[in-house]
């Protein structure tokens, strides 16, 4: 099992890095897909089959297709010439430093071998919850939890997605009516 874990972990992390550094956006999208599939394989190793399949179905199968779809309509030669500006470089450097510090704080004093992170990751519920739900992996248990105990977070996520969707529609829509009003 450890061998499989190492293979899939490398398959997740290395393409993720390559996705960030690759100049060609199509290569970047393909690396991202590989990374998603690798992550799905990691879920399978945890026996979370439903999560693994949703990962492939939603991210690799639907969202990335749309990404690739848009990227392919771009002019590749123009896109590859774009160089990141000074402000962007500095901002990304600061973010990287913040992430490293954050992970170090999260790991605590005893580093990667520490039990606190492993405990946090393996806990089946909110760490502070009074009556944690048992760890269940079947699709039915997952749906049951989603519609009973976790109803509020579930609904809030749905509203968030709806808000972002409406925002995208408004931003991407051509403003013909307002221009028409200005002209008249």
């Amino acid at each position: 099992m450890d061998v499989l874990f190492i293979i899939f972990a490398v398959l997740t992390v290395v393409p993720a890095l390559l996705m960030v550094v690759s100049r060609n956006p199509v290569n970047g999208a393909m690396f991202m897909i590989i990374s998603f599939v690798g992550m799905a394989a990691l879920f399978v190793l945890l026996e979370a089959f439903l999560l693994a399949i949703l990962q492939v179905l939603v991210y690799a199968g639907a969202i990335m297709v749309l990404f690739l779809f848009i990227i392919m309509l771009l002019d590749m030669d123009e896109v590859e010439k774009i160089k990141p500006g000074t402000v962007t470089s500095i901002a990304s450097g600061i973010s990287l430093a913040l992430i490293i510090v954050g992970v170090a704080v999260l790991l605590g004093s005893d580093g990667l071998a520490g039990q606190s992170v492993a405990h946090l990751a393996a806990a089946p519920d909110f760490p502070s919850a009074d009556n944690p739900m048992g760890l269940a992996l079947s699709a039915k248990a997952y749906g049951f939890g989603l519609f009973t105990k976790y109803m509020l977070p579930f609904q809030l996520t749905g509203v968030l997605l709806l808000v972002s969707m409406i925002g995208v529609i408004i931003i991407s829509k051509k403003r013909e009516t307002s221009q028409g009003q200005e002209q008249s």
Partner: protein
């Protein structure tokens, strides 16, 4: 013991690939024979390996049926000159056919194809490679990856016709994936209705159809699923991806010889898997006839008989796929999109809600 079980699994997987690939090859023959029958032609009737013609009666009959034609077709693809156009993006150009075929062959892992009844205990088990609890989701997930083969083929070919074909087909596949998924959800609602422990596996669907078939109980679901699967396999009323009249060859315009052969086989493998899926979901899988108990005896004879019955249903559906292709004209692209978004999708959602309400009403009584 560990090694034997792994070896056994590999042997089973290879056997299954051989069966599906053979069926894909012979679907091409079915296509050619049915098309010739529809058009009043003879179809392939000459191909004969040496000496077969000298076997009395059977030999010439097999030759006339074109049984050896798929082998000749396959060899032709292998022996053609391997041409790579100079203006393509090589990596993705070679990767695309593989990406088109692999998902088609991966989906068959969760497809059950027969049942084995233990003679001593009477317990029956489905025959399948991986008894996954969420088989139908697995099939949707893996087959949604198949679109990358087409998209990358169109883009890497660096050709306007290829690219248009790829764009059209990916838009079409994304649109119809929604209807495809939503059309089968009512089945699984009934399967997991209060008091029934079904799960999302395909063998559970077949078990549930012991006495009645879903096509009679859920005809709307069956129709929606059939239309969506036609669109997903890029078959003729929906073959926007390769409509010859306006796109030359669509996404595989720049592909020749064996690479084209892989695309070709992938398309027919999709048809085989789609037919098998329709059989499992709506036609009762390997169950004999609606209302009748299975006549399959216990033991391996029954297992073989049930598998043959399942394959018979699948082949009938493949012939239906082919007949539709040679009967209906091609849609226009905007008609395809309109059908998908304004008719199929609302119908599928309405069907799902209706079934949910019925189940809730039955449950509340």
């Amino acid at each position: 013991m560990e090694l034997t079980s792994i070896l056994l699994k590999i042997v089973f997987a290879v056997l299954m690939i051989v069966v599906v690939m053979t069926m894909a090859g012979y679907s091409v023959l079915i296509e050619r024979k049915v098309s010739s029958w529809v058009q009043g032609r003879v179809g392939p009737n000459r191909t004969a390996p040496f000496l077969v013609n000298y076997i009395p009666f059977i030999g010439p009959l097999l030759v006339r049926m074109g049984i050896f034609q798929p082998m000749a077709d396959g060899l032709k693809f292998l022996f053609k000159e391997e041409i790579t156009p100079g203006h393509v993006n090589k990596t993705y150009y070679f990767l695309a056919p593989i990406l088109a075929l692999v998902p088609a062959l991966t989906t068959m892992v969760v497809i059950p194809f027969g049942q084995y009844t233990d003679p001593s205990t009477g317990a029956s088990n489905p025959l399948m490679l991986a008894p996954l609890d969420i088989g139908i989701l697995f099939i949707f997930a893996v087959s949604s990856l198949g679109v990358y083969g087409i998209v990358l083929a169109g883009w890497s070919s660096n050709n306007k016709y290829s690219f248009l074909g790829a764009i059209r087909s990916s838009a079409q596949m994304i649109s119809y994936e929604l209807s495809l998924g939503l059309s089968v959800f009512p089945l699984f609602l009934w399967l997991n209705a209060p008091g029934v422990e079904g799960g999302l596996g395909l063998n559970a669907v077949v078990d549930y159809q012991q006495n009645f078939w879903f096509i009679f109980v859920q005809p709307l679901s069956a129709l929606l699923f059939l239309v969506a699967i036609f669109a997903e396999t890029n078959r003729l009323p929906f073959d926007m991806a390769e409509s010859e009249t306006d796109l030359v060859g669509g996404f595989h315009t720049e592909y020749g010889c064996f690479k084209f052969g892989i695309f070709f086989v992938a398309e027919y493998a999709h048809i085989v898997i789609g037919s098998a899926l329709f059989t499992l979901l709506f036609l009762g899988g390997w169950h004999f006839l609606p209302g009748l108990s299975d006549p399959w005896p216990a033991g391996w004879i029954g297992a073989v008989l049930s598998t043959i019955w399942f394959l018979v249903k699948t082949v009938i559906l493949i012939v239906f796929f082919v007949l539709i292709r040679w009967t209906l004209p091609r849609f226009r692209y905007d008609q395809v999109m309109k059908l998908g978004w304004t008719i199929l999708l609302p119908l599928a959602i309405g069907n799902l809600i209706l079934n949910a309400i019925i189940i809730a009403l039955i449950d509340s009584q």
